[in-house]
Symmetry: C2
Subunit: 224 residues, 2 copies
DNA sequence: CAGATCAGGATTGTTGACAATCCACCCGAG
DNA sequence: CTCGGGTGGATTGTCAACAATCCTGATCTG
């Protein structure tokens, strides 16, 4: 008897995990209201469990609680996005620094090199979706190499408003090029064990991304 | 009819706020288990409200959830303390940087100067409790000057394990001296509008504190 | 005496029902 | 036609009761 479904249905944590994935995948539109009873029926549990999941996701920044109104998918304003961007800058910078400080195993070094190579391929092919996926994996890998769970947790949170941001197709190629040029610098600094350089490069990289996002049209931020 | 107590008793948020204060003030010992029903009776509400407050405080890092066992006052290990210290370093550094970037009103500049002066007085008097209080106010003021609510929120969270740490009386005087020397550098950088200098000084300041804390005996971390 | 086994009590996990609240719609007056 | 007020339905806020779970300590056994 390992663990898990002590009773039937998912636990509050399980429901929270499901909803987190849904929000990340865009199953709900920004600002959409979530009805306790609907989800309770869908998951086959009582409203209480759904409510607790809501409270967790509110604390993480995925949902917004409105008194007597319930929860909605949290929608960040441009100003908040910029504030979060500043935080992301230093936190991802820290992750890169810690990764460069860590004594990486050969396996981890290979993984980093392989990921960099896959990004290079995607860049050469001009394959934006693929590059985007590898880019996310790259940042996630650096978080893992850094080995600081608090940094990881907060980075995830300040990244939430970015999950739906789409690059305007016009400047995709240039954007990929600049982004991957940064990546190569960061990768080299981490592999060479240069914490300061890694941090500086990552900060500049994130900052460039933030400045790009901050200039996007208003429609990106408001509902659906 | 402004708002507030729609029914009798505190809301979940109100209970969470109360408990947060209690934990910060040390009303509960580290690792202490909190009983839902006891608090429900004390606040004159049902268990559900207390439960929701627990979930919020768990997300913030004040409590720890154990399945079928309830919550305990979260107790961080030395390793976690060090991890959080690294995060605090960059976040407080960011706050100092943002404060130096901001266009401060005359009133705010005066407030900062007054606080620095009060710390100087406490230092000269060798008044450790007073210096500790002013020190907390100082860091809080810088957060306010920075005007980034996400940075503030995360700084508060990574500070949680520090709330009970007591400086060994032996090196109090030296500790105050070094700490306040750092403060003067930071204050000057903020008032002069030197973001890079402010960030670097704050980082060094926090790092020095972290290294000091990391060397404290094990008793500080485990349960009271 | 040490260790395993097994009640009993205490506490959490969960639900369904009820009251309070809010919103959208409708209606009537100007 | 527009605006203010009221009304009904939908949804959240809350609780009290019940089931599941875990820990404590007493009992039994080798």
């Amino acid at each position: 008897m390992e663990e898990g479904a002590a009773r039937e249905g998912l636990s509050s944590e399980g429901i929270a995990a499901q909803l987190r994935v849904r929000i990340l995948e865009g199953a709900y539109s920004l600002g959409q209201r979530l009805i306790e009873m609907d989800l309770a029926e869908e998951f086959g549990v009582g409203r209480g469990r759904v409510r607790e999941a809501f409270r967790m996701l509110t604390g993480e920044g995925y949902l917004e609680f409105v008194a007597n109104r319930g929860v909605l998918v949290r929608c960040y304003t441009r100003a908040e996005l910029i504030e979060m961007g500043r935080v992301r800058e230093v936190l991802e910078g820290l992750a890169a620094k810690l990764a460069a400080e860590a004594e990486l195993s050969g396996e981890m070094r290979q993984e980093l090199e392989a990921l960099q190579e896959r990004m290079n391929v995607a860049e050469a092919a001009g394959d934006y979706p693929s590059f985007g996926a590898e880019n996310r994996a790259y940042h996630a890998l650096i978080e893992r190499l850094a080995g600081n769970k608090f940094a990881s947790a907060y980075i995830d949170r300040v990244r939430i408003p970015l999950i739906r941001v789409q690059m305007p197709p016009a400047d995709v190629a240039e954007s990929i090029g600049r982004s991957n040029r940064d990546h190569r610098v960061i990768t080299a600094a981490i592999l060479n064990g240069a914490p300061e350089a890694a941090e500086a490069a990552m900060r500049a990289h994130v900052r460039a991304g933030n400045e790009h996002v901050a200039r996007l049209p208003e429609a990106v931020f408001s509902a659906s």
